[in-house]
Symmetry: D2
Subunit: 434 residues, 4 copies
């Protein structure tokens, strides 16, 4: 368990008491406001596909979570607006019906200003309750869960608004002030031998552990690693260019059957946001020149898998990834770095260990999102959080340039379906050792 | 032609010269702003179905029309923003490609404020040109067409935002200050014998005629009327209640084959905006009690046709309707009356002639929207205005509570497809005479 | 009415008494068997699209009609197999539920042999009843209707199996012994002036008239013809080649809006059964060289309309067509001629009148399929025959190479939706006279 | 590896030499004919859904495999009919394009009789080559693979025709002579403790191993088992009745998110072939009374998973299942037993070990179909056999009443997508040990 504690060390004071929790609450809640600040009320209502949500909805839903599961758990609580419960519930069947997901973009009312007032009101009530010391352990746990939930939506707010702005033929930028550092020369890809044999992965079950982890990360358990090696860094734009130039998108035998069908049906010719000739890509800073040495991003599982097959390699398993990452501090290009785009690895990275495991791009693994041995869902409505999605999804690891740094850890399991590519998703190669 | 001239009499000064045209331009353009005034920028971006458009799009597209076909027709014209051409063209294939219609709701940029600035800029350039006397006859005709085009979009702005607000579970009102007069007692439905034999319908071709009409209203031509009678007034909510109570929506033999399929597929149980028990309906003023004596509204062609069959009657032909209307002044409940909803006929309506032909509800006819004998489209891109929609559509007549009074006339042919019901569409019965 | 009687003259003895009706019954029923004879049981079950039906279904459904509406009308009738009622009803909602149309191709049971036995059994019972003189006037009328109904399905059997065989990559022929006469040189297209002013069209209502016509052909009524001319013959393959070569399928402004959308969505480049380079076409005799002088066939309404616009002409109205045809005998290339494909007009066709009006190809008109003034549906379940399809369909006139000669007449109104092209549908040009 | 050899012991002579292979070839090929014998040519063309294929297609495609990969591998081979290659290829992109899968039901030509002649011709050529000793080791391996391929299609032939016949409202039986033994009393479900810790699963790679296994079953490798127990027998109809009676299909929290969506969309109320009141089910012998003690069958993964959650248990992993099965002989209710339906366990089954692991119903596991560590696909076109389907599928184990006994073994991995339920799929419960 040592390695997990190290991973969590990036936010050491966070969970040590009620005051710290109140401070953490204020900090996380403030970031959502900051992320939405560049957006007009019009921007904040756009829903460009059923899988994405309007920014306003993210701001409201994360607030509803605290109202529903924390404030509302107390008898006699008067909701800010009872009608909003229906609008801002997302998938908790056990707490009632909900507004259809693909229709979130139709909600011009409540207005963005009202949603921000809703945030203020809930935050004020939370602050009062913190001050009064109202929250027992169970409630403090729910608040902690709610903050991690909100951090997930912070990343989605960014990826969803990126897709929405890209859907506009004007290709407007989310922000015009984003810098984009570049490296002059590529870092050579090296193969790093991984451990072999029985190892432990996963997190001890929270809240018993005292260290937050989602239910699906637990229990900590033993698993077997085969002889293997991991690439020292993620696949770069330049390398992905080679795949395309070699006819990658036209060669059926490189693809999973479902992936090939998708390529044909959607006419895919490159990563989601690349322009037709692969020179420029859409970023949160608008259309930019591709950096050849930066990690390739916005790939589906199908593309990641096809690339790996083309390269004579494979994707890592989540256990291989986690074991390699568990010994490393959570450092990398996260949302706090304010690039909001993957960047090329700094020159002179330490040799002998995989790097850029954290931040930049979520790395697709070959592991499906399934229950660990002995998995237990959270009790009650919060049990709907993870387990019911354990079907048809692959695990991604490590966080991205849009992830809050203190949200991620070695055991963190993100998951999306194979065709999804609007997340900051890339890949790292693995291979079997001789 | 006498009757047509009378019909046009409601706007006598409008077409008499350049000054009058400039005044008319200012007046029509101002109403679009007035209609959009109750809407927030968020309201103005919502697109609740592919057939509807956001209010902002209506405001921009009608402005684009003047920029494209009037200002832009002059050599060297510098467009307000060249990229917007792609965004705000609607269906003029001959002037270039366009943004996909179902994706208009994704355009958070340009912002509503920018679109309003666009309107101001184009209006200023138009005003200058009017003052300079820049416009020759051909341009004045295009301006006239553009104003009628904008009036069409004014009605669509209202019906589209009504659908958008209704799609919101909160059922917010477009305006809270709309009054809704009611009559204490119903008006008896009477049958009025129509003319028989050869009559003339249609409008003399504009611009030659000096009196505006769309190309599809021309040429004026002779047609034959069979012996028939028209109902004195439109069908009321109360009468439509009887149809429902009698199992109208459950009786296959009352329906066209395609209509019955639609009823099954969509689960229709009543007019579009009625609540489940038929007591209340959604209006631009929010949810209101149904007025039993007001004309039933928001019916598809299928429902209008099924009701008529149930009533042992039929829908009128457009020729029957026009001939009856041609002798009457254009009076009724129009957008200027500011009810924005059909109202019951005033008690003591004159006997002996059909009334409420104009205003309140568009009346479905049994006539498909096809070319009159000798029909000629306008030349050039403007020829795409009407003719290419002459397939799969039925004609509606008379205007509605959302139509500008000086936009409609006896010969006016509105058209929608049989399943459409988000327009202010109702019906008047007709029957064959013995 | 004189002209209609002439048109009917092709089958003079048919309706003069019970014996003649029995003979007509035997003759029509026998032809269905003949048409199905080249098909294996496997061929006879294929349904290549929801709009088409398997041959076996046609054979069974037409038999069911006599069992349901004639034999079954008598008290105590024991059906051949009660379960089959559900299978072989097609659209008569008022006589009960039915097997879903798109699933007709799943019915391997009853076997073709059983369906043929069913035909034999019903025919035997009908023959007995004919001999006993069981049928009163009302029943004789139902039998007459049933025979015309069966003739409609004979044509559909041919067009449906043509589509089914074409859907097979082997492109097998329905029959290998079909001859295909060709003309050495084209016939010049001439314009023939049509009548102008009030004329009568339609058929006197059957059965009162003594002359069979479907309800939708009645009543006979006056209508107005504008000054116009009709082409002397249908448009030829060679002329349609010119349209394609001139970019017809790539020019949006030639098309109805819905037609252009269809062309884009389906990737249409030529008539339904043409190969890619327009040299060969699929026929009931297999793949054959196109005859440049034969009428072009298997066009949708959209294509017919676009061709006419490209040619500077228009489609005829159904009244124009009928008035021109009413004075002519029903002669042409019908199913009895056993070409089962349109053929070029014989050289030296009489000048001064349109020819090939009957047979070869159904001619699209610009008229939608709607009720004539005073139209009355047949009473009871048979009333579902025509009226409920009066929405979204265009009228075609004149019969085709797959139509039984005694099935068609000047007043006959066939109808299909605008995208349909698997019927033997072509076009004749019309134009307004100066 | 001992256990695997035992599992294979059911067919000891099969792989011992060329003669034995020729005999095995004749035997497997003959069974396909036997299975198709009860079907008419009409039955054999029906395709009731895109995932299913007509029987005729199975008969042809399995033959094509030998022609393409065995006979056709020799220079100068003249194919039986070159056009058929396009028709009967299924998913081998690397050997050329293929006929669209959902359109297999349109192929009335070649006729069933021709396909049977094709089988005869290929079998004759194969027999000649066997006699001549033409086949080297590589070819003998391809033949072996082809026979296992054909056995897979034998099972699909049965499940596909079952679905096709059920789709017919007449609900005809595939055979009327199938017996259906029943047990008077239920067998109590017991929990059997499984092994714990590191074990070996999988098969040594064929052909090196000398023992046939598909590529996806290899390599044999170590894995970790958690403490767990397996149910002594599969879940019965009676137990599944309890789930339904307890509101299983109406309780969202029992279901995976995608499963719940499927239940809602399809209106599922019970297993695929159950009638509405759960008293009878469709079998290959027609509609029959449900046997309460027989294993429940025709479940999707979603239903199996929901049942397990409702029962407070879980599905086994494939490793748990395989380790339990590896020590047992391959005995059970297979296709040779000629029930073609699961039957209740014989009374007095040996205690202390799970039984009915083989035969009766394929058992859904919680394992997704992914590559074992070190997995290698077969080289060339045959490499498309398994690997490209490793996405979105769950593993099923043990074979069914429609599986040939010598086709299955402990390491055998069948796979289907979560909504599939037309296979003979059921479940066995598992649970974590304390």
């Amino acid at each position: 368990m040592q390695t997990i504690r190290q991973a969590g060390a990036a936010a050491p004071a966070t969970f040590s008491g009620a005051d710290a929790l109140a401070a953490h609450y204020r900090s996380v809640r403030a970031r959502s406001r900051t992320l939405a600040a560049p957006l007009s009320a019009e921007d904040a209502i756009v829903q460009s596909m059923p899988d994405a949500s309007p920014s306003k909805w993210h701001l409201a839903h994360t607030t509803w979570f605290f109202e529903q599961f924390v404030l509302g758990a107390r008898p006699g609580y008067a909701p800010f607006d009872p009608d909003w419960h229906y609008l801002f519930n997302s998938y908790y069947n056990s707490v009632g019906p909900m507004h259809a997901r693909p229709k979130r973009g139709l909600l011009s009312r409540p207005a963005l200003a009202q949603v921000l007032a809703y945030r203020d009101a809930v935050d004020a009530r939370m602050a009062e309750a913190f001050e009064r010391g109202d929250f027992d352990d169970a409630m403090r746990q729910r608040i902690t869960l709610g903050l991690h939930h909100e951090q997930q939506h912070q990343e989605l707010l960014l990826t969803d608004i990126k897709h929405a702005l890209w859907s506009n033929p004007l290709k407007p930028a989310y922000r015009d002030d984003l810098s984009m550092p570049r490296q002059a020369s590529p870092e050579r890809l090296e193969w790093i031998a991984g451990s072999e044999g029985e190892v432990e992965i996963g997190a001890a079950p929270w809240p018993g552990s005292g260290q937050f982890a989602f239910d699906s990360e637990s229990p900590r358990h033993r698993t077997l690693l085969s002889p293997h090696a991991l690439a020292s860094r993620p696949v770069s734009n330049s390398e992905f260019h080679d795949f395309i130039a070699d006819g990658g998108y036209r060669t059926a035998t490189l693809w999973l059957s479902a992936g090939w069908a998708q390529v044909q049906a959607e006419g895919w010719r490159g990563p989601l946001y690349w322009d037709e000739d692969g020179a420029r890509e859409f970023t949160l800073g608008g259309m930019r020149q591709l950096d050849p040495h930066a990690p390739v991003v916005h790939l589906s599982y199908y593309e990641a898998d096809a690339f790996a097959r083309w390269a004579g390699a494979r994707l890592p398993t989540e256990a291989e990834w986690e074991h390699a990452a568990a010994g490393q501090p959570v450092r990398g290009n996260f949302v706090e770095d304010d690039y909001l785009h993957p960047v090329a690895p700094a020159e002179g990275a330490a040799k002998g260990a995989p790097h850029q495991l954290y931040g930049d791009v979520w790395e697709w693994t070959s592991s499906t999102y399934t229950a660990y041995p002995g998995f237990r869902e959270l009790p009650g409505a919060l049990g709907e959080y993870n387990g019911k999605f354990m079907c048809g999804q692959f695990v991604l690891r490590g966080g991205s340039c849009a992830t809050p740094r203190d949200h991620v850890r070695a055991s963190y399991r993100n998951f999306f379906t194979p065709p999804d590519r609007w997340q900051f998703s890339g890949l790292r190669l693995a291979k079997d050792a001789a």
